[in-house]
């Protein structure tokens, strides 16, 4: 084709375009994009399936080895209708929500579930809050004991599950305890349920149900299972401690020291609060509160600030309205939108700062607020430094911390020496050729320090 032909064809296509109908490619493009997304999703599902199978195999192997897997809650969670409330000192794996595991130490903790069930988790207990199944709230008791007080609610149930069975209830007071029983190299879990008021329904692992009335006590067992090698030998107490990581030594130097430390920490907090609320600090605090109130009054009176606030509220609502994609494909679009909105937010904040600088009334109020709050913080810090009682408590806590470290080190040294002695004894026997076919203690895999 010559240059002239090309030119002719170009004008021809221009004329066709001018006289032809208005093209609408958008719907077709969008349809194609959706198809691509769907196709990729299917491909990815294939991968997810393969990975899921691999994970299932790994989980199966891990379960065979009695490895304790601490369950972490998923990253994206559906909104919870009713919040959970926990009172007392307890270790929570992940944020407190359905699916998280709660471990109590020396003291009991109280968990409020669904506003109708109050659960007192006894010391040295491990509980997982189950995901809500319809209206039913549930707990999984791994170890220890819980005392439950459930209000009667016809539409909602409550159950405590365990490895040895479960207890279902609608309005009653009862306690559930899980203990481990051992026999030679076998172990099983025992579920003990004591009903204080009302009645509960106990469901065994085989599906057999039994009703337990008030002031009654019933037990259920899981099957005997072979214990892992790591649990054998070393004495019953040691074995029980290894089986249940939540269980801490009831007696002994370390247990006493840890309890003392927690009491001391509480005392320190109480003393800090007392200083904060003392008469000396009261005047300073009132001054700071007044300065803060003045600043907010000045803000409310400023029409420009009001306007900026309205814009900010609208922007926030817009940000909330941007739908977070459930699939990976939409993320690019989502982040682009969010980036734009965040940029606008920054711009608004910059305008707010400029307003603060430009308006003399606002600037004065802001400065006064900053100065009085800083003065209060400084005075509080000085008062805490000067307080002899607080100083003594902090010093005591530091000494205790060192002592705990020393005791822990001693325990580790003793453990290492024990394993070393076992290894030496085995070497000696091996050299003498007394016992053949015996395996040497594996020091590599032992966590000595």
């Amino acid at each position: 084709m010559s240059r002239r032909d090309h030119q002719d064809r170009l004008v021809d296509s221009l004329l066709r375009d001018r006289h032809g109908p208005e093209p609408d490619l958008l719907s077709g493009v969008q349809r194609r994009i959706e198809e691509r997304k769907r196709h990729r999703r299917i491909l990815r599902l294939g991968w997810v399936g393969a990975l899921g199978a691999a994970a299932a195999v790994l989980w199966f192997l891990a379960a065979g080895q009695q490895v304790e897997v601490v369950e972490r809650p998923p990253v994206e969670r559906p909104p919870q209708e009713e919040a959970l409330a926990l009172k007392g000192i307890a270790q929570v794996i992940g944020p407190l929500e359905r699916g998280s595991t709660i471990k109590t130490g020396e003291e009991e903790a109280t968990l409020n579930l669904g506003s109708y069930a109050s659960v007192r988790i006894q010391p040295h207990s491990t509980v997982r809050v189950e995901k809500k199944n319809g209206e039913e709230e549930a707990l999984f008791l791994r170890s220890g004991e819980v005392i439950c007080d459930v209000e009667k609610k016809p539409e909602a149930g409550f159950s405590v599950k365990s490895d040895a069975g479960s207890v279902k209830v609608v309005g009653t007071v009862f306690s559930v305890k899980v203990v481990r029983e051992t026999k030679e190299c076998m172990m099983r879990k025992k579920l003990i349920c004591k009903v204080l008021a009302g009645a509960v329904l106990m469901v065994g692992l085989n599906g057999v149900t039994s009703r337990v009335e008030a002031m009654d006590r019933r037990e259920m067992h899981s099957r005997w299972e072979k214990m892992q090698k790591m649990f054998r030998g070393g004495g019953m107490e040691d074995m029980m401690r290894k089986m249940d990581p939540a269980a801490k030594p009831q007696s002994g130097a370390l247990g006493v020291l840890v309890t003392e430390k927690s009491i001391l920490n509480k005392k320190i907090e109480v003393r800090k609060t007392e200083i904060q609320q003392s008469e000396e600090m009261a005047a300073q605090r009132t001054k700071a509160i007044k300065a803060i109130a003045d600043y907010f009054t000045a803000l409310e009176e400023s029409p420009q600030h009001k306007e900026l606030e309205q814009k900010m509220t609208l922007l926030k609502e817009e940000q909330k309205a941007v739908e977070r994609p459930k699939t990976r494909e939409g993320y690019r679009e989502y982040w682009n939108q969010m980036r734009e909105l965040k940029r606008e937010e920054q711009e608004l904040k910059r305008e707010q700062v400029e307003l603060h600088m430009a308006d003399p009334k606002l600037a004065t109020a802001y400065k006064a607020r900053e100065e009085t709050v800083a003065a209060y913080d400084k005075a509080l810090a000085e008062a805490m430094e000067k307080d002899e009682a607080l100083k003594a408590l902090i010093k005591e806590a530091e000494v205790l911390k060192k002592q705990i470290g020393l005791v822990q080190d001693e325990e580790r040294v003793a453990e290492a020496a024990k394993w070393q002695a076992q290894r030496e004894a085995w070497d000696k026997r091996k050299k003498g050729g007394e016992e053949k076919g015996e395996k040497a203690p594996d020091l590599k895999n032992k966590e000595l320090f």
């Binding site: 002719d8 064809r9 296509s13 004329l15 001018r18 093209p23 490619l25 077709g28 493009v29 194609r32």
Partner: protein
Amino acid sequence: MSRFCLETLVQTHQREILCYLRYMGADSHVAEDLAQETFVVAWEHKSPPPAEQEHRCRGWLRGIARNLFLTHCRKVKRSPVMVNSETVNLAEDVWAEVLPAEEGWMVLASRLNECLSGLSDRNRQLVADRYENNRSRADMASAHSLSEDGVKTALRRIRESLLKCIQAGSRA
């Protein structure tokens, strides 16, 4: 690329891309199919040129469309269009000559309108019959008392004059 950006990109450039594909030799169905595919590829691209730089966007989209068209011609073994790199380069040169990078598609469209209004009534009628009413050459020949070859030659001359007019406008 956000949904909004995609919509803007499609609405701004769809006419030009369709016209470009037709100019390269694609029939109307293939042109529409490839134009849609062009925007899908653009959407999938990790770092598209900024939408503000329209001339860069146009060149980039034309590049995608050209590659897709070449792939299409290679796939279709009995393609009526003979395409090689020389032809493609020549076609691209002619396009760039008629439609300079700094000028938008709308400028060209308005210039074409101006040039059409400058045609004689007979020639305007010939253009309308051919492109607007889609009449066959035989029909047009009988309507305008010409032979079929005469219609062909007349239309070719009209197109040449329009091209000169457009180029004169772009130079001015």
